[in-house]
């Protein structure tokens, strides 16, 4: 009984004094401003990623960390369907949040300090450097790679993104 009272007393003291204050202070001390690539250039990148990564059996699934929304894949809200209208602005924004939220600190280093894009899981998995169930999707310098990396490092070139989108497939060429 005295032990029980001691425990509840401790909990009450914590609640009153705010034992979480130290955690809050630590977070504040470590907080820093992060940078992210341009959202305005992202739709071209998103359309390229959608073609190669955003199908319903890959990153067009709600269970994915890097969740992509858009035409041909997962839609953000009804009444849109996978084969319905083109990707909406809201879907571009949701995919943007998904991509830049993966590794925000590492991404900020790439954007701000020109760190090697290879430090991002997005790039490593895309290039097949890191294990990726969807396999290697790009090689250094190919159109998808240039599309994504040019956006990440802030020297966006829309042309390779367009090439990804318009690339012939075995069923449409």
């Amino acid at each position: 009984m005295p032990l029980k009272q001691l425990f509840f007393g401790f909990m009450l003291a914590c609640a009153v004094q705010g034992c979480a204050a130290s955690v809050e202070e630590q977070s504040a001390a470590e907080r820093r401003l992060l940078s992210a690539p341009s959202p305005s250039d992202f739709p071209d990148v998103a359309n390229a990623l959608q073609m190669r990564c955003g199908t319903l059996d890959c990153h067009g699934q709600i269970g994915r960390n890097m969740r992509l929304y858009g035409f041909g894949g997962l839609r953000l809200s009804a009444p849109e369907t996978p084969n319905g209208d083109p990707t909406t602005d809201q879907e571009f924004a949701a995919s943007y949040d998904s991509v830049v939220g993966l590794e925000p600190e590492a991404l900020s280093d790439v954007v701000t300090h020109q760190a090697d894009p290879d430090q991002l899981s997005l790039v490593r998995k895309m290039r097949g450097i890191e294990r990726h169930k969807g396999g290697q999707q790009s090689r250094v310098g190919d159109v998808l790679d240039r599309c994504v990396v040019s956006w990440l490092i802030g020297s966006f070139d829309p042309a390779p993104c367009g090439s990804v989108i318009s690339a012939p497939t075995p069923v449409n060429n």
Binding site: G60, P82, V171
Partner: protein, 189 residues
């Protein structure tokens, strides 16, 4: 009295035997009770039982995600790709004789044909593919190509389940526009 080296060795040997037996017993128990992936097990359970009058085989479970069971994780022969083709978006009538052509990234091709249940399946030994896989369907003059490629899920119904929703394209069908394309007559009786 300190144990002799022989006694120590015998003790270690007995310990090793005990560990091996424990491991073996755990493995047997796992095999019997199914220590598999509970998420996978729940997905299989959710499919329910066989339809009355349809035995296990090529005609069973049309429209279901075949590769769920027909995989290394499942208990049925492995399929690379498998699914069911229906007449149109509004119809759940299966269509037979549809040639489902798979084309991989290296342009390798394989053609499977739907049966009376609309089912088709491709075994790994039939088609050694390099993903992604593109798909076309044809019966008589009616041709249809899939908009996107298959990257991971060999079950058509994994993405093509009914009803159509934000995360599903609805069932696979051949006739896009019934006013232009005529539904082929089924050869099944």
């Amino acid at each position: 009295v300190p144990p002799t080296r022989v006694a120590k060795r015998m003790t270690r040997s007995a310990d090793a035997r005990r560990k091996c037996l424990t491991l073996l017993a755990a493995s047997v128990l796992c095999a019997l009770t199914g220590c598999g992936d509970p998420v996978h097990d729940r997905s299989v359970d959710a499919l329910g039982g066989e339809a009355p009058g349809v035995p296990k085989g090529p005609l069973h479970r049309p429209g279901q995600p075949c590769v769920l069971c027909h995989s290394d994780q499942g208990n049925a022969p492995t399929f690379l790709v498998a699914g069911t083709v229906y007449v149109s978006a509004d119809s759940r009538t299966p269509i037979d004789g549809v040639q489902v052509k798979l084309i991989d990234s290296l342009q390798h091709q394989f053609v499977a044909t739907t049966n009376c249940a609309g089912n088709f399946f491709v075994r790994p030994q039939d088609f050694s593919s390099d993903a992604p896989i593109w798909v076309t369907m044809q019966r008589d003059a009616v041709f249809r190509a899939m908009n996107t490629a298959i990257y991971r899920d060999g079950s058509c119904a994994g993405c093509h389940a009914d009803p159509v929703s934000v995360s599903s394209a609805g069932h696979v069908y051949l006739i896009d526009d019934p006013t232009v394309e005529k539904a082929p007559v089924s050869q099944c009786r």
